[in-house]
């Protein structure tokens, strides 16, 4: 009966959309670094910790307002307690464990083993409770029992809680963790030196009436102060034998200090690229829209330079030297393989809303087809543009789902044709497209706002602004209408193609968007 109830409850929870949505919300808020609102939650917690510490410091020598004490002892502690319980809740799914166990037992034709699932749930939760972070969290709640004066000091655990919210602390800890073995060796070495030297100095000095070392505690204190090269000088050996020990400890101290410094430095040097990469990935979230350029060879380089004038972009390339070049050129570049789904996952971006287009610019059709297929395997809609190096591979790129293919050799042929046929016309059109002349050709989208002022071509008044209307691209017909007649009706989503001095075009656009009072 109880088993049945528990099972029903578990199935209800795992299928309840509301319950799952709530759980996901709290999980994101507490654990998911890429969640938008987590930073606000973290900031709130950091503020509470700071308030707590300030009150502790103030309380040492002066009286603190009763409300503040109440706030510190109860409200903050309760908030921390709630946080602790929420973490314990979201860290694993109890209902899932029960369901899994039930399915497993059903498969084997056995009766549902409630005990096994309780054991598994306890194991996972216990593992969390005994983790360093959870212990610190728990100790930070302890000052709640403020009647026990000694427990006040546990407020300091709230400071340790900061580690949870400040990413740089976590980075620091993770970097040092990579040198765990070396640090352990160093710890062993220094412990042995401290132990040996403490015993030696105690034996040599404890019976000497002139010596300040009387107890083993003082001997250990002296050893640690000396080996750390701090050397306060409040306790110094007086006998020759004691000084000999001191010389040994000082020498060992220099070695320990040098070794520690080099360990920390080398750990950071090794991890520096990774830290930078993590930072760059985090920064991507702040960019609203950008292009992804796959590959950084000649054409890609030039595209990146030209595109970056008006847009944001990132570069992915599996070749480290090309990635370095891209970084040197000032672009955000990752040494990720553009042909691997994993690479896009690592970027932790929302491809649908953040990425304008993915450009396959490797100078190899094989690589571009592979990249295009990879992208299409997880996203069907994103705009894909690819270079084509050999005409016979055109259909392969189309088949891979590339929206726009650019065959540079064909372009050379077309340019040659135009140049031998109409050199002046060619130069004029080329100048229109280049940025070096102040004359430009722009597309202006017809918006609803614009339509409230202008409904016909004749109302545009473009000649007043010395802007030439080359034509209208009608979205509805997907067709370009050259030199439209005055009575042409403007519709939302149409594009006006205008030519003129870039300053005049800007003025004209401004005029189109300004509400005219009639």
């Amino acid at each position: 009966m109880i088993k049945r109830l528990i099972l029903d409850g578990a199935y209800f929870l795992s299928t309840s959309k509301r319950y799952q949505a709530n759980k996901r919300f709290f999980y994101n808020l507490l654990e998911n670094d890429s969640y938008r609102y987590k930073k606000y939650f973290d900031m709130l917690m950091i503020t509470l910790i700071m308030i707590s510490v300030i009150i502790l410091i103030r309380e040492v020598k002066s009286h603190v307002n009763d409300f503040l004490l109440y706030f510190n002892n109860y409200i903050i502690s309760i908030i921390f307690l709630i946080e602790y319980l929420l973490r314990l809740w979201v860290i694993s799914s109890t209902s899932e464990v029960i369901i899994k166990q039930n399915e497993y037992d059903t498969m084997l034709g056995k009766e549902f083993n409630l005990f096994a699932s309780i054991l598994e749930i306890s194991r996972v939760k216990f593992k969390y409770i005994t983790s360093v972070r959870a212990i610190i969290d728990l100790l930070a709640i302890v000052p709640f029992f403020h009647q026990l004066r000694l427990l006040r000091i546990f407020i300091l655990f709230r400071v340790f809680k900061l580690f949870r919210y400040a990413r740089s602390f976590q980075t620091f800890a993770s970097v040092l963790a990579t040198k765990k073995f070396e640090f352990l060796t160093l710890l062993m070495f220094s412990s042995i030196v401290i132990f040996v030297s403490s015993v030696l100095i105690y034996v040599m000095e404890a019976n000497n009436p002139d010596s300040p070392i009387d107890t083993l505690y003082e001997a250990v204190y002296w050893s640690i102060v000396t080996i750390s090269t701090v050397g306060y000088g409040d306790i110094t050996p007086t006998s020759d034998a004691g000084r000999l020990v001191a010389m040994f400890v000082i020498t060992a101290g220099i070695a320990v200090l040098a070794f520690t410094t080099s360990l920390v430095v080398s750990a950071f040097t090794e991890k520096l690229d990774e830290i930078r990469e993590t930072k760059s990935v985090d920064d991507l979230k702040k960019i609203k829209e950008f292009y992804i350029i796959c590959g950084y060879e000649n054409i890609a380089q030039e595209v990146a330079i030209q595109l970056s004038k008006r847009n944001s972009l990132i570069v992915l390339d599996e070749d480290i030297s090309r990635v370095k070049q891209a970084q040197k050129d000032g672009f955000t570049a990752f040494n990720y393989d553009p042909g691997s789904v994993e690479s896009y996952k690592k970027l932790r971006i929302d491809i649908k809303t953040q990425v304008k287009a993915i450009l396959c610019l490797r100078e190899s059709d094989v690589e571009n087809v592979y990249t295009a297929l990879t992208v299409r395997s997880f996203n069907k809609d994103i705009f894909l543009l690819s270079l084509l190096m050999n005409e016979i591979n055109r259909n392969k790129l189309s088949f891979a789902g590339v929206n726009e293919i650019l065959y540079s050799k064909e372009l050379v042929g077309l340019i040659a044709k135009e140049f031998v046929g109409k050199p002046v016309a060619f130069e004029v059109v080329h100048a229109l497209r280049s940025e070096y002349t102040n004359v430009d050709i722009e597309e202006v989208i017809v918006t609803q706002r614009m339509l409230s002022n202008f409904t016909l071509v004749e109302q545009l008044n473009n000649s007043k602004y010395r802007v030439v209307l080359l034509g209208i691209y009608k979205q509805a017909h997907k067709r370009f209408f050259f030199n439209p007649i005055d009575s042409t009706v403007l519709e939302e989503g149409d594009y006006l193609l205008v030519i003129g001095n870039s300053v005049f075009i800007k003025e004209f656009e401004k005029y189109l968007h300004t509400k005219i009072k009639r």
Partner: protein, 233 residues
């Protein structure tokens, strides 16, 4: 002697150029180096072999150099520059169009005497950026320039000033009266200017000016007749 397109290089670029200039030249000769391997898509053309140390005496005997155009599209940039400079040294009047793989060699090719350099990387990159930034402009310009559409860009020389005597380009309602849009005027003194730029008032229309216009083929033909004849209708 034949007016020819002389294409130096035996590769995909040569094939594309040959295909595109076929309509313009009586003769297309593709020059290959001895080391080049046979290519199926170039078999239909007249293939000749050459050497970078050639003196080019045969070339001037067989082709009307003054009216021919040479395309230097060798794969290797250094060889391409060498070829351009040796062609220029041999023929002062030859129009040379050269392909460069990067910016640096583009400058060198110009210095070597190429009349027009196609910087492959820059051109391709600009095309890609235009496609992304201004997709509609790019599509429209591409179809006007390169594809078989009714809309054309043409250059027309003014042969009679009867119609536009003492007028400024900006004073005339081109689009309404003639159905064309004038983009630019190349004046006799070699200065080219966009008609809609702020400086448009500096020049009056004169005989010999070249107009670059966009319009439908029929309108352009009408306009050509108009400015070529004496009567202004």
């Amino acid at each position: 002697m034949k007016i020819s397109a002389l294409i130096f290089g035996y590769n995909d670029y040569s094939a594309q150029i040959a295909k595109n200039v076929l309509h313009k030249y009586q003769d297309i000769s593709i020059f290959k180096l001895d080391s080049d391997e046979k290519k199926a898509d170039l078999e239909d053309y007249n293939i000749e072999t050459f050497d970078l140390s050639d003196e080019w005496t045969d070339l001037s005997e067989n082709h009307d150099i003054k009216n021919s155009v040479a395309f230097c599209v060798l794969e290797d940039d250094a060889e391409n520059i060498f070829l351009t400079i040796s062609l220029r040294a041999a023929f002062e009047d030859l129009t040379i169009i050269a392909l460069s793989k990067n910016k640096e060699s583009a400058n060198k090719l110009s210095m070597a005497g190429a009349n027009k350099v196609i910087p492959l990387v820059q051109t391709t990159a600009s095309m890609i950026c235009d496609m992304l930034d201004k997709p509609i402009v790019t599509e429209v310009l591409h179809s006007i320039l390169y594809e078989q559409s009714d809309l054309k860009v043409a250059q027309i020389e003014i042969k009679s000033d009867a119609c536009f005597n003492n007028k400024f380009p900006s004073d005339i309602e081109w689009s309404r009266e003639h159905g064309i849009i004038v983009l630019s005027v190349l004046h006799e003194d070699g200065n080219s200017e966009f008609i809609f730029s702020s400086k448009a008032k500096h020049h009056e229309i004169k005989i010999g000016d070249v107009f670059v216009v966009v319009g439908y083929e029929t309108d352009i033909q009408e306009f050509e007749k108009l400015i070529g004849g004496d009567a202004c209708v």
